[in-house]
């Protein structure tokens, strides 16, 4: 793997120290750039001023990643695929989260197409402060009719601003569709052993990225890429090594993806230095008797292909339960491993809590904090959230690992001086920390310790049904106590 040093970049900068990039001088811009702490295009004079034309070309060449980033689509909704630098995310954050494209085809009825495209447009699931979305639409030519295909592509482009993938092996069908949709820079899928000449011409003529496809035959795949690259001067290429979904071909698929990625990054083979495309939708070529079984295969395959370096995926199922696991895995694996997964311990105000507001205790693992904060926000009244130092691990692990302890909670109570802010002297600890409750009551003397629910989604109910009643001295019926309430065992 090539390690870029500040000087490698500096020599191609204007070296005028103009500060337009926000840095005091060109050298510090170069230093930040190689550490992945600023953006290449922030050196605006280099891109703007024609006198830097040669420098710009060399600059872009010097920072070109081993797997090129290819833009598909235009404007707000454009996606960047590829742009990969490392094999392992612990070496450097993975960039350009794998876009998911949902397929439609030209023999689906209008209502189905509209529903599916709208599903892509509107899909949004907010998780830990980020929106999980679908990114593209793949339009497939099933009819074999260029006119039908073009009609469907035009319809879809009117329905969505998300980037398209035009899928056919017929140059005629693709050209019809490109005449209608090339302005939005779709991905042309796919050049094969049989049609590469025509597809190469189309990619040049319509200035769109093109996928090359050769399932299970990587030498042909590489030959196709090399021919388009060296023979046609095309540099916006996506590779489809084939997605096998049945039996042994599945293992071979993961293997091929990994082999291509290693060749690009560790061997430095520029011929295959392009993003990889996986097709979990291919499970529908061999559906199971039980439709759900096929959907499950598609879900799992999506996550696994993403793990083994797929930079773009085409899926068919439009059920949230099928997509969600893959989307959450994408969100997870593309986070910056340098960012500590923690928030600062201390007292947080949710709303404007007063001396009567409930006091919730949790750990400082970021995921825990965000979930608890979100759920506590659903309680009618404001509340206090006391974050103890669980060493950035979830409550369940932190209790088992002695990172979320009585001492830590006592420290948090003392350091936050929360006893001056609440009158009721009661706190609610997470259900997973139930076994700390007795010892905690001993340590905090005049405090009352409640064991809350294990999952914070039940906090609202807990406050209403348990905490408020207890605090107002009402008798409790056994049914409303959560299972793992203190000393119930």
């Amino acid at each position: 793997m090539r390690i870029l040093r500040p000087l490698d970049v500096y020599k191609y900068l204007p070296q005028t120290n103009c500060k337009e990039c926000g840095e005091p001088n060109c050298m510090s811009f170069a230093a930040k750039l190689v550490e992945d702490r600023t953006l290449a295009e922030k050196c605006t004079p280099l891109f703007r001023d024609t006198k830097y034309k040669e420098k710009l070309a060399k600059y872009l060449e010097s920072i070109r990643p081993p797997v090129k980033a290819i833009q598909i689509g235009v404007g707000h909704n454009a996606v960047n695929v590829g742009g990969k630098v490392v094999m392992f995310r612990h070496d450097l954050t993975w960039h350009n989260p794998t876009p998911l494209a949902l397929d439609v085809h030209d023999e689906m009825d209008d209502a189905t197409i509209t529903d599916r495209v709208k599903f892509v447009n509107d899909f949004k699931y907010t998780r830990i402060g980020a929106d999980l979305t679908l990114d593209m639409v793949a339009v497939r030519c099933v009819s074999k009719s260029p006119e039908e295909f073009c009609r469907t592509v035009s319809r879809v482009s009117k329905l969505t601003a998300k980037p398209l993938i035009l899928c056919s092996y017929s140059p005629e069908a693709l050209e019809e569709a490109l005449m209608a949709a090339s302005a939005s820079r779709p991905l042309i899928y796919a050049a094969t052993k049989g049609n590469w000449k025509e597809l190469g011409e189309l990619a040049l003529k319509y200035k769109c990225p093109v996928a090359v496809s050769s399932p299970g035959d990587l030498s042909t795949l590489k030959s196709l890429a090399k021919t388009l690259r060296e023979g046609y001067g095309i540099d916006d290429i996506v590779l489809d090594p084939g997605t096998g979904t049945e039996g042994d071909s599945f293992a071979e698929t993961l293997n091929n993806f990994s082999a291509l990625r290693r060749s690009a990054i560790e061997v430095g083979d520029v011929t295959i230095g392009y993003p990889l495309m996986g097709i979990p939708a291919a499970v529908w070529l061999s559906p199971d008797e039980d439709e759900n079984a096929t959907k499950i295969r598609e879900s799992v395959l999506s996550s696994l292909l993403m793990t083994t370096y797929a930079d773009l995926l085409v899926v068919h199922s439009s059920d949230i339960w099928v997509l969600l696991a893959a989307l959450v895995w994408r969100q997870s694996v593309y986070t910056d491993p340098r960012t500590p997964p923690s928030v600062k311990p201390g007292i947080y105000e949710l709303g404007k809590p007063d001396e009567k507001a409930p006091l919730l205790v949790t750990g400082n693992f970021a995921l825990t904090y965000f979930l608890v904060k979100e759920d506590a926000g659903k309680i009618k009244e404001p509340s206090w959230l006391l974050v103890a130092d669980s060493e950035a691990t979830s409550i369940e692990s932190a209790v088992a690992g002695r990172k979320f302890t009585v001492d830590k909670i006592v420290d948090a109570v003392k350091e936050s001086a929360i006893s001056e802010k609440v009158k009721h002297k009661s706190l609610i600890i997470p259900g997973y920390a139930a076994r700390l409750s007795g010892e905690l009551e001993d340590a905090l003397k005049d405090w009352r310790v409640f064991v809350g629910p294990r999952d914070s989604s039940a906090i609202k109910d807990f406050i209403e049904k348990v905490w408020k009643k207890e605090m107002h001295g009402e008798e409790l019926t056994k049914e409303v106590l959560p299972l793992d309430r203190k000393k119930s065992g």
Binding site: L39, E41, F47, A57, L60, V74, G75, N80, K84, V85, F88, R89, H90, H95, E107, F119, F123, K124, R140, S168, A190, K207, P215, L218, K222, S223, T227, G233, D236, G242, T243, G244, G247, D248, S249, A251, E252, L254, N255, A259, R262, I272, A282, L285, I296, V300, S303, L304, T307, I320, V322, A325, W329, Q331, P337, S394, S397, R435, D455, D484
Partner: protein, 397 residues
Amino acid sequence: MRASRHIRVSLEPATPGEQRTEFLVPIIPVPTVQPAPSPAPPKVAELIKTDFRYPTFQYPSSVAEVQIGATKREGGSRGKVYKIGGAASLPFWRFDGVAPHLPVVALDTFDLAPPLARPVKEAYKEVLEDPAAWAKLCVEKYEADLPSLHLVSTDPGIKDTSASDAAKLVEDVLQTVDTPIIVGGSGNPQKDMEVFNKVAESTKGERLIFSSLTTDMDIRETVRPMVEYNHDLIALAFMDINQARELCRKSQEAGLPRTQLILDNTTGGLGYGIEYSFSIFQRTRLAALMGEEVFQVPLSSASTNAWAAREAWQKPEVLRPGDSIAPIESWGPRELRGPIWEATTALVLALCGAELFMMMHPLAVKLFRQFGNLIAKSQLEKSLKELRPENWAEAKF
């Protein structure tokens, strides 16, 4: 090193007169500017043929093999025994070599059932009060390789079940199943040492797995009965490579051979910290392959932790945001969502080299095997080329 989002790939205005600044919207770092294109080379008439060679690499080291369970001949009484480990490469890089064994899957059982997600409870509702029957169900009906018996009731804060009662229960379970078992403690360091010692002695020679050794236990004292009575031990580190290194090093220094040690780096479930597990499993395995001896042991994952994520088990009505566009059915039955969540967690870690999995839901196990056994399969028979999936784009589905 630099990252992709700094790159601007070539792009010309798609229609004449279009402002290229339009593409500078900073939603994602979209490349907008290109250097002047070099003149296109003359187009070729024939495919430029070239070979793709698999980029193989020989790692200098490999991982120890750990046997689980011992037959009569070997000094135990198990009908079934397993081996894990022996890997000399990463599992999804078959071109570097394939590990000699399939992953081993344990299903969780408890001497005192904790609150369980409804779909999980449903699978075990007949046996929740009977650990031996529970273990039998896991092995016989749900086809787990072995049960994992968590002795949670031994916790002084819960029921304080004595070490000898715990040992009796373990013996009962061993009478009921023909497989080895994983003996899980309560998480109380002092009590776990006492329980492990007693159980290890009473099951001498059976080569069970004890789970687990943590930094607040006396490493020498915990390791001693494992060596003396021939059992395996899981060292549990909490997503901390230095802690993992220390536990592995100290337990090996205390006399435990690598053929009896398994490392668990802690599994954060999907959407609940899995990325930290992913990277730390990968780092420990790569370090092992590159020659760091203390890490040359099989890896274990408690994939059952996937059930901590609410998306795995909550009702759609609760999960669905108010403004959701999708119909409620689209959230799917919890009976399927949870198993996908658990299987995905296990499979992602299988791709990092984990070879022992503690799981919870029978369907998750089935799913895991469906994919995991393929990843680990020694010889592939049917090739992708034969299956010709290239027609997916034009197929009607």
